[in-house]
Structures are given as C-alpha cells and as structure tokens.
C-alpha cells in the first residue's frame, strides 16, 4: 500500500484500529453471520453499540447527567437551522469567526433577531475577536470553537451570561472541555470522532421546550432524546466507526493525553513555519489552532507555492492545499494524524528550503 501522510481537512485520517474494526464488522459482525450494515438497528447487538458509543462520549468528555448526547444524520449544517428552531424565541448572539460561523448565523436570521457581537471578517478571519459584549437578553450565544479554513481556535471554555452554544465540529475531543459551561455542543463527526454521515449533539435538557413555534419532529431535539437517537433509522456504519474511534481515544488515555499529543504535533509544525524563511503562518499566534495549521509562502516567495505543493505531493503529503477562499497551505492534524506525518511535512519543508536557499 502506498505511503501517504494524510492532512485532509475532513473527512480525514482515522485511527488504524477503528478502520480495522470496521472491516471486521463488515465481514461478520459479532459472529452474527451478517455484516454490521445488514443487521437490524432494533437488534440487541446494535443497541449495545449505541450504548457503548453514548457511554464513551459521557466518560471521555465527563458529560454531566443533565445533558443528553445524540447521534443524528444530516450534518452539522442541519444544526445551523435546528439550533435557532429549538432555542431562539426573540434574539440570539453570534460570534463571526469564519465561513461556517457566518453560515450558522445566516440560517438563524429566519428565526429571530441576530446580533453579531464581533467579526474578524475584515482581516480574512485570521484571529478570534476577544472584545465584545454579549447581550444579556439574548436567548443564546453561538460560537465556532475552531475555524477549519483559517486555522484559528478558541482554546478555553468561556463564561457566557446567556446559554452558550458551540459548533465544535473540528476540535471536539481534542482537549478536555468543561461541558457544564455550554448549553449545547454540536458538530459533524468527520474530523476527530469518525467518518462523514453522523452529527453529535450534546444538549442540556432543561433548555428545550421554551420556544413557541412548531418544530417538525425530525428537527426537534426532544423527539430524538425520547427516541434515544433512534426515532428513525440511525446512520449505522458511521456510528459504528465513531464508537471505535472513541475506544481508541480512551485506550490512548483520553482527552488529557490527546491534548498533550496535539500540542506537541502543532508546536512541531508551527516551529518550522516560524523558523523556515520560505514560509509564514497566517493566524494570530495566540489564536493558532491545534487542529488546522494554515501557512503561506513568505513575502517575496509567493511564486513557489505551486512548486511546493507538487514537491510535498511527490513525498506523499495529501490534503495540504489551503481552502480555495484563502489559498496557501493547510495541514489538518486532527487526533488520529500521527506525529510521523507532521515530522514528514516538517522534513519536506526543510528539504524545500535547501533547494531554494
């Protein structure tokens, strides 16, 4: 098999153990004589997977008992309308830190008044605004904790005077989180916790049922809580791989352990970006993401961009082209990205430097 260093922004590299368990379960699930995608989602074997998945989420994130964890279809983008539909009665506040944050607030506008407390749009979202006031009468305050395209991240759990809702699609399970500071955390699985096709929602139960509008059943969190994420047929295989991914994470030592590894990987690459005269980082240093590391060619060396992409590709790097809206390079170094991949990229940047001294 070809050697690749997978820096895809999501879907992305997954733990080898999780993929292997997926292969085995496709062949013969739990000695049932059937593939995991051929069993009934109402069978005891499948219920055991759902329970294991829920338990792993609760353990790893230490989710308090007054919260539920849901596994839904439709993607985090569907949450952009489900959040206001379920929680917004009059006014909500949003922090605009990138394209995804903007999409979330755009969808919310149809459901009530939206206050954008701050935005870093004017500088291509290369930092996270810090000085702003959250209106005390807002129904909730929405943040995007990691901004995949720009490589910025909110590193701490903030205090909010109103319900705090966080899209953690691209940094969930990358560090310990104080869940009790959030009213809701949601995201697509396809970065740190699994393949595409399943969305997680961690929600404090008492915040529901306060809006006056009609909510269609499939968009009502209460219905999914009541159905234990099986109100309708769940996305079976994505949930299975998510469970295996979390098992791997637990075995590795959980969130404190992975946070340490994530910091080491990020420091290794940021150090090279800062040292290597050919490159420069794009995100404000204090907001640098541990998950998506964005950089460009240094000033005056912009013409080398295409050459470096080819050079890296020829050495097995995959997915390091920056998002089309910002250009340059992006290395996504999610939980399952091994340190060896980061080292390979650093080596590649050094080699490239030697050629272009």
């Amino acid at each position: 098999m070809k050697t690749t260093y997978n820096f895809n922004a999501g879907p992305c590299v997954l733990p080898k153990e999780a993929v292997k368990a997926g292969i085995e379960a496709l062949q013969d699930f739990n000695n049932t004589g059937m593939s995991v995608i051929e069993i009934s989602h109402r069978s005891k074997d499948w219920e055991a997977v759902m329970n294991e998945c829920r338990t792993l989420w609760k353990e790893l994130l230490q989710i308090p008992d007054n919260y539920e964890i849901l596994f839904l279809g439709g993607g985090a983008s569907l949450q952009f309308c489900m959040v206001p539909m379920n929680l917004l009665e009059k006014k909500a506040a949003y922090l605009d830190t990138g394209v995804w944050a903007k999409k979330a607030l755009k969808e919310a506008k149809a459901f009530g008044e939206i206050v954008i407390v701050a935005s870093s749009a004017e500088s291509t979202y290369n930092y996270v605004p810090k000085k702003y006031t959250i209106p005390a009468d807002a129904d909730y305050f929405h943040i995007t904790t990691n901004n995949t395209i720009y490589g910025t991240e909110i590193h701490t759990d903030m205090d909010s005077p109103v319900l705090l809702v966080a899209d953690m699609s691209s940094d969930i399970m990358s560090r310990p989180v104080d869940v009790s500071k959030y009213a809701m955390i949601y995201g697509g699985a396809q970065k740190n916790v699994g393949p595409a096709g399943v969305t997680f929602v961690i929600i404090r139960k008492d915040i529901l049922g306060k809006v006056s509008r009609h909510i269609p059943s499939m968009l009502d969190y209460r219905i999914h809580i009541e159905g234990e994420s099986m109100y309708n047929t769940p996305p079976v295989f994505p949930i299975f791989i998510m469970t295996q991914t979390l098992k791997w994470l637990k075995k590795l030592g959980g969130l404190t352990a992975i946070h340490k590894i994530n910091r080491e990987k990020a420091e290794l690459l940021y150090a090279e970006i800062d040292r290597n005269p050919l490159f420069r980082g794009t995100a404000a240093k204090e907001d640098r993401s541990l998950m998506n590391i964005c950089f460009v060619m240094a000033q005056g060396r912009e013409s080398l961009e295409a050459e470096f992409l080819d050079f890296a590709k020829s050495r097995g790097m995959v997915g390091i082209k920056g998002h089309r809206s910002v250009g340059g390079f992006r290395a996504s170094v999610y939980n399952a990205c091994p340190k060896e991949s980061v080292q390979a990229l650093v080596d590649c940047m050094r080699e490239f430097e030697k050629i272009h001294k």
Copy 2:
C-alpha cells in the same frame, strides 16, 4: 461463518459484491493508500463515485432529464417535513396506508390543509384503498408505495391529476417505474439500495420555488440540487455502498430482471403460506407486497407462534418476527435476499407443519 437467512426489514441483507467492495475500499480506496472514509469528499476520486452513483440511478430508473437525483442525510423521516416545506402552499392530499404514511401526513399538517383521501386504518392497513378522489386543487398527492409493516404494495404507477409524490423507501428499484408519472420519489436507502445513512430524492426541477415560506438551506431541495448533493459533506460510506449495490443490480440485468426474480421469490413464499394449513397471509391478495411478506398462524393455531419463531431461528432465519404493532411474522425479501433464503423459510414452514399435523 454462521449460515443465516436474513429477512430483516431494513437495514437488511445487501449484495455480497457490494459488501466486499466496501471492505476493499475501507482497506485501500483506489490505490490512494487511504481508506474511503479518510479521503476528501472534494477529491476527484470521490467525485467519480458521486457521478457513478448518479449515472446508475438515471440509467436503472430511466430518470428523465428534467429530474434531479439527490443523496441526502437525515433519513426518509426528514423528507416528511421537507416535502410540505418545499411543495405545500395551501392544500395537499395524502393516502393513509400505514404508520409511515400517517407519520408523513402528520408532519405535513403544520404547513397547510391536509386531505386524507382514504385510509385502511380500520382494518389494520391490510389493504390499499382504491376508491377515492384526489382534490384537483391540491398542491400534491402523497402515497407510500410499499407498506413495510403490513405487507401491502401499490404495484402500478398511478395517474394523478396533481403532482404525485411517493415514498418508495421499501420498494424502490424492485420493479421498473415510470418516473415521469411522479413529481417526486424519495426514500431511505436501507432496504433495496444500500445501508442506513443516506436518503435518495428524485425530483422534477420545475415544481420547486412555488411556495412563499422561508426554507432553511439544508431543507431546500434547490440548494442541494445546486450543490450536486455536496452542499455539505455527504454521508460518504453509505453512498459508496449504494453505488456498489446499484452496480450489482445493473450487472444482474436491471429492473426488469430483478422484478422477475422478486415475483418468483414472493410467489414461492405466498404459495406456501396459502397451502400450509398452519399459516395464513394477512394482506389482501391483490395488494400483497413483493418486498415484505406478512403472515400469522392460522385460526386456532395461534398458540404455536412463539414455537415457530424459535424453530425458524434455530434453522438460521433472522428477522422474521412481525412488527410489534401487528404481531405474527414478516419476511422481508428485498432485492438482495437470495431465492435460497426464501426456499429455506418455505422448507422450515413445511417441517414445522409435519411436526404439528
């Protein structure tokens, strides 16, 4: 590996070739050195899968050019609210043929006036009503072509004076369909066309954009058409297996060929139900489903139900317990259910008869 005869109602048995292709793609997709669940959904390799899937749908069902085929997350249950949200301005008509039809019309009620043209609820949905009038001023008429729980099916493509919308979750691709008679066909993949986690929507483009309400982006068919089912990250693995399932179907000879096989399988089992004095079918004969075959113990032999379930289970039958709302037995004999499985069940019923003569 244990020998099983898989009659699960969905998720259910899939073609061996499709599962095998899934295993291979998990190991190393297209010699990329990565698993299919680790590649970017914006990569050329993945775009090729999406295109192949679309092409297979169009070919197999002979979908006219003025229709689009979409692959979405969320399940067919999400369509229950998306259909009225996108199509219902004033009034819609629904045919009530079972629990799923009822769920669909219940969701629609929040969006306008709903006329139930007919219902077979009074006789536990054991037939499909035929005498009814579709209001000429309805925005659309909604039917559920196959009723999984009760084993009834609408076997022909009807003429409707208004837009015809069909939930074909459990009989899509089981027979040739004149798509041009429908304005929209949708369903969950997890019966005839793949694993759980992806929903297909076949929609005539000109019917969209006629309602006055605001539609959230993720619930707006126009947005998904524009994004070619990639407005957001699609459920990658379910779509991959769907593509492989359709490849298998094409190789087998397409819908005319599978329809013949499905009729043979169903006739084999219905003949045994009608012949064997221990059992009786529950659905009206003219409405008997080719997909879900429902039967119970004959009158006076009801006490044998649990014993037959155990007997069948010990012979490798899986998933033949009837839905909890109707009891008895249900053998789901979807496209990928081999004739050998049906024969094994027939043999099992005959053996049971000998014991209980």
